[in-house]
Amino acid sequence: MAAPLLDLSGITKWYGTTRALGDVDFDLRQGEVHALVGENGAGKSTLLAILSGVVAPDKGTINIDGRAVTIDDPSRAQALGISTVFQELSLAGALTVAENVFVGRAPTACGVIRWSELRRRTQQILSPFGIEIDVGRPVDRLPAGTRQLVEIAKALSLDARILLLDEPTSALTSDEVAALFDIITRLKTRGIGIVYVSHHMAEVFRIADRVTVLRDGRRMTTRAVTETSIDDVVRAMVGRNLEIFAAETALVPGPVALAVRGNGAKGKSRHLELEIRFGEVVGLAGLMGSRRSELARSLVGLRQPSGGTAIEIKGRPTRLRGLRDAMARGIAYVPDDRKAEGLFLSMSVTDNFVVTALRRFARLGWIERAAATAAAGRAVERFRIRVPSLAAAAGKLSGGNQQKLMLSKWLASDPAIVVIDEPTKGVDVEAKREIHKEIRRLAAAGKAILLISSDLPELFTISDRIVVMREGQIVGDLPTRLATEESVMALASGIGHKREGEAA
């Protein structure tokens, strides 16, 4: 039998002291779709990054057509016939489809672009796949699904033999997904191998030939989809013993702090009801595209609640006029992107800590430095944030410590209700534990907490209840001790379409 198109063996990658991948084997045959699944942090993105030349593995070999290769930068990956379609699309919005497909390689005559030739060649690439787009249109006038196709066309124009697709359907409608799958099928017949990364089990079982499960940077299993089942794959993804805080510490929750009421939009029977009580942690689960972030942002005044729903704070219907309004009502929002939305990286630890409570640390408009520093010092101690000094720039801290600083900063304003988005993204295990304990402590102190996380074990570790969202609706609301990772996954991805354990 001929050598596989792509063959990885013993791939290992460390980020500092965190092992992202350990001794992972992976192979891809011609004309095959090989799905790569796993929870967040399982190592899928690292594997893709290695294949596309963005990061180099610490150990392991990569063979293409049986020959050993090194992929040390993205252009090398391209030369080897590997093209990546990342989640964040890399198109120039103002330029036309044709220009995007042939970026940097447009046909020219004496340095002048030959527009008709460019359009013709683009058509040539698109038409075999039945993709019908006006190639002269600017990309940002196209719907999201079509843009994804342009991205794929761009990859094909580079004569890619190996296509890496990272969550290609997260922004697509079901029609667009069907069109994409149609194209994938045609690509297979041309012998192109596809690595397909996805959270959606149903899709994986529809389109993939084989599936490899990663967990905590290790390969758990590789099976033909015909020889396995969604249940087996999900079990391989999540199976582990969990340390559950919730059960031991759960108190009798207090009155309802924050609630979303009402059946949602436009005729469809959209179900969107949620209650969070003082003293409890409610975990919000859902896959990409489940709109749980939108729900969270509407709870803190950052966007209008979706049609037909209303927000109640402490039992009273409230229209939030913005985040400041929400803060004035005792709600804090800890965003997920600590670098872009959470911290002021060039400013000191103290400055970062006091920002939400500038007024509290000021007298007659003058900040009392001593009081601010003392309060920041107490927070650093309490959250065990490891800092060189209180005057050090926040950007110098490690990811876990930045995350703790961010949490402490929003608690400086002493909110009664806290909405936390992905509190442990990219932090090490130890910091994660401390953050989890801190969140439990907040609940024990009577605060109402909504936790949004893509990390299922995390939800199970600290939530009292788990609420599952899919496509903008709440499809499950169950006490953590009655939930299993399998049942949450099933609800989130819509397998079985059953509604479990609705809260009474």
Partner: protein, 328 residues
């Protein structure tokens, strides 16, 4: 502090002191300023004289006042090209009001109010409509200058009431009143930017606007107020200039915005926002003024002075970038 860090401290102390020195822009500038003064005192007999220093002080006072507002704006991530034009417009409006019989306080208030209104307009266009500050204030720069020229048909307005010239001529404790005003503003705003709860917000906004918004700061309101402050201070500089020259001059302050920006950036402000101090900007103005004065003393042509100022700006920023890159 962990043992590890304590252990590493001694070996790094030398480079830290050096870095601290380079990082503290004010200190670097101060040393350079002293160096220029010492060097020039040796090179030119006229340089180290009260008359020369007074001339420098009076000449740079309007620039200092405007640099205060510009720094506040730069820190917030904003930018104001209209300051030179607002200075000219304020000077002509004061003169026009005085010539039409308005009392001196009324004329001054009128001009200051106009500066605030232009700043408000800049602020609204930038924050609410989302026009890039460069474009927005390039527009208002042209409009304000145009209005000043239309109002005066391009001529300077003279024959202002003698009492109006007090501010431009007066001396307190042997120093020009103009200098006192500029210094007072520098001290007040430098302290406010370091300790004032309102002005501290500007650093957050300039350093990460999105995070500032999500931290509950009233980003748009604060930024608009910074534009208004810049307009107000530019107008104040215009009123004081009119008092000193005893005329309303529609062509005054040409290219002043670039000088002010250069001084603020030399003084440590960043065009990306989040960084800079009023004291640094003040020292930047002094530094540039001294260099220009030195070149005049050494009989270098005024045209060459422009070239040197530009070169100093680029070198200062380039050095800053290099130091930062070494940091990473």
């Amino acid at each position: 502090m962990s043992v590890d860090e304590v252990g590493r401290w001694p070996s790094r102390v030398g480079s830290r002191v050096l870095r601290r020195f380079v990082e503290t822009r004010e200190l670097t500038l101060l040393v350079l300023i002293v160096a220029i003064i010492v060097g020039m005192s040796l090179a030119s007999p006229v340089f180290l004289s009260l008359a020369n220093f007074r001339a420098i002080a009076i000449g740079m006072a309007p620039t200092v006042i405007i640099a205060v507002g510009m720094t506040v704006l730069l820190v917030s991530g904003g930018f104001d090209l209209s300051v030179g034009s607002v200075l000219a417009l304020a000077s002509t409006v004061t003169a026009l009001l005085l010539l039409s019989g308005a009392s001196i306080p009324l004329a001054i208030l009128g001009a200051l109010a106009l500066g605030v209104i232009i700043g408000l307009a800049n602020g609204i266009v930038v924050t609410r409509i989302g026009v890039n500050p460069l474009v927005a204030t390039l527009g208002s720069m042209s409009i304000a200058r145009g209005i000043a020229l239309v109002l005066t048909e391009g001529f300077s307005l003279i024959n202002l009431p003698p009492a109006f010239g007090w501010a431009g001529r007066a001396e307190i404790l042997g120093l020009p009143f103009l200098l006192w005003v500029a210094l007072a503003l520098v001290v007040v705003f430098d302290l406010a930017m370091r300790h004032g709860s309102f002005f501290r917000q500007l650093y957050y906004i300039g350093s990460n606007e999105k995070a500032a918004r999500l931290s509950g700061l009233a980003v748009d309101r604060v930024r608009t107020l910074a534009y208004m402050l810049s307009g107000l201070l530019a107008a104040l500089a215009g009123v004081l200039l009119a008092s000193r020259l005893m005329s309303g001059t529609p062509t005054a302050g040409n290219a002043l915005e670039l000088q002010v920006l250069a001084a603020a950036v030399i003084g440590g402000a960043s065009l990306r926002g989040g960084e800079g101090t009023v004291l640094g900007a003040f020292l930047g103005v002094v530094f540039v003024a001294l260099i220009n004065n030195a070149m005049t003393m050494l009989a270098v042509s005024i045209y060459w002075q422009m070239i040197v100022t530009g070169a100093v700006l680029v070198v200062a920023v380039a050095l800053d970038m290099l130091v930062r890159r070494g940091d990473e």
